[in-house]
Symmetry: C2
DNA sequence: GTCATGGTTCGATTCTAGTTGAACGATCGT
DNA sequence: ACGATCGTTCAACTAGAATCGAACCATGAC
């Protein structure tokens, strides 16, 4: 029941605004999205804080963002590459991502 | 413990992005915000659907949006006027509201 | 093949948010 | 002053989301 690896991602046309907004409404997830704004990252490097988040929690964080269509999570050898779905988001909700990424200081 | 009427609203500088995003991440609340985009409304007219929402539920919906700083809720005689805090939002998170209001068909 | 590594899934618990009736408050009309 | 109307607050319940350990799985290294 676990799985192999290629995880399901919603199609660009299936993105729902409320889901995206919800995914972004958590400080930790928003933070991650901002980190990804500068480019894809290996998942291992992603939420590297002290103390380190448990794997399952981290995985769950990714899941929420992935299922909302905010990030892409692809297998790469033994680890994973996480990236922002910038074009898809821009096409579905023009201006939204930029606006969110701009709100710098604000949590 | 109930109250009179002028309800507390967060100051423009205290708006938090995550709270705003969360407030907007619910279909009913988002819908209300879109209705308000065309101008203030009397609360009584606001979420007029069938079957009608119980008063307490409606009031709670308003509360979430108000506490996030998305709407203003002011006494007006025996009822209330609800309005979008457009300028405050635009100043705090430029482009955000427009982007959200644009996502028309998408729930 | 075997082992170490990185990540997902399951399941239990905890915490937070939504829902709604009932009680209360303020205001307006008479 | 009284009653009706409109909305908030309280409190109890339900539903949903976050947290995290344990089990599991693929891949890569040896």
């Amino acid at each position: 029941m676990t799985s192999g690896r290629p995880l399901p991602h919603p199609a660009r046309d299936d993105l729902e605004l409320t889901q995206v907004l919800f995914a972004l409404s958590d400080p930790v997830r928003l933070d991650l999205v901002r980190q990804l704004a500068s480019g894809p990252q290996e998942m291992a490097d992603c939420l590297a804080v002290e103390p380190p988040l448990p794997k399952s929690t981290k995985s769950h964080t990714m899941k929420v963002l992935r299922e909302a269509g905010v990030i892409r999570n692809e297998p790469r050898g033994r680890n994973r590459i996480v990236s922002l779905r910038r074009e898809d988001l821009d096409s579905a909700f023009p201006g939204l991502l930029d606006a969110v990424l701009d709100g710098e200081g604000t949590a």
